[in-house]
Subunit: 189 residues, 2 copies
């Protein structure tokens, strides 16, 4: 059908390991986030990526390996250090007040996280990832005595608001929004 490869990309490069890997990873992130670890199948993921199943084994070692990488890719380090305490708290609280729609793409990542939290097979992996990219930074940011349990509390609060926002389905408005932000800020401070 296709005689030349000048269709979409400049040089499709028939055999490109990096591109194939990336497409598998993208498909995995999508399926895992939407379906969870056990329901999403490697065959589906491979099909969505337009790739043979065996390549997943080759590039990621197996389902767990693929999931681990997809998880890492879904949790991007937050920019804690760019904020002082007050501005960060305010930013987080406002973000929480928003609806799922107008949130950035971190929504998908968080959905991924939530699904991962509900599957026993992936819980240990998630624990590790959260430690690395979430709890650790917060703990360091807090510093001082009892940084660890205090970081856990803070992480719990933030996670909770994210879940609540995910479930809520719509943004808060007007007075309700203000009250929410005010209260949430108070808790986070």
């Amino acid at each position: 059908m296709d005689m030349t490869d000048t269709l979409v990309e400049a040089r499709p490069r028939k055999r490109d390991a990096a591109a194939t890997r990336a497409r598998i990873l993208a498909a995995a992130m999508d399926r895992f986030a939407r379906l969870g670890y056990e329901t999403a199948s490697l065959r589906e993921i491979a099909a969505e990526a337009g790739v043979d199943v065996a390549l997943i084994g080759r590039y990621f070692g197996g389902k767990e390996g693929l999931f681990t990488e997809a998880l890492k890719a879904s949790i991007h380090p937050n920019r804690l250090r760019d904020h002082d305490r007050e501005s960060y708290v305010r930013a987080v609280a406002e973000n929480m007040a928003n609806g799922p729609k107008d949130g950035e793409s971190d929504q998908d990542g968080f959905q991924f996280l939530l699904r991962a939290a509900t599957s026993p097979a992936t819980a240990p992996l998630l624990n590790l990832a959260v430690q690395e990219r979430f709890l650790g930074p917060i703990r360091d940011w807090l510093g001082g005595e009892d940084a660890e349990p205090r970081a856990r509390v803070l992480a719990g609060v933030i996670i909770g608001f994210l879940v609540e926002r995910l479930i809520r389905g719509k943004a808060l408005r007007g007075r309700e929004r203000e009250v929410f932000i005010e209260r949430a800020s108070a808790i986070l401070t």
Copy 2:
């Protein structure tokens, strides 16, 4: 081996459909809440109930039917009204500090729902259940001005801790536990 049935129960009543059904349902509630719909297997559930697998098919029609009934049985109204503010806050905070395993049945229903949300078919239940079991009761419990957004904040915090506990996988101990409970209580109060 056993000639008489006077081992554990007074009258084991060899054939009792109602009792068998109940034991299957209890085992199902436990396994589904702990492992989620996909991971929990009918064979395990049957084994835990000390029953042949085929009976599940007979009594509940199949895995979906069993899950549906277990879900119904797991949603009971929470007992917010039994507590005054302080004792409830303390109970919730301590519950949060515990590991997923040793948690009491008070919040297990929520775990059940959260895990159920993994399965695309049962996902919409989560929103409804949170409204019913968390937001509504908390809002009424709080009462007064701005009960709605304040309830959202509180619900968010509680949900967050539950998820955090789910992720953490193990109980907090010693000083960390104390600090955690103290901080969580302060936030909830």
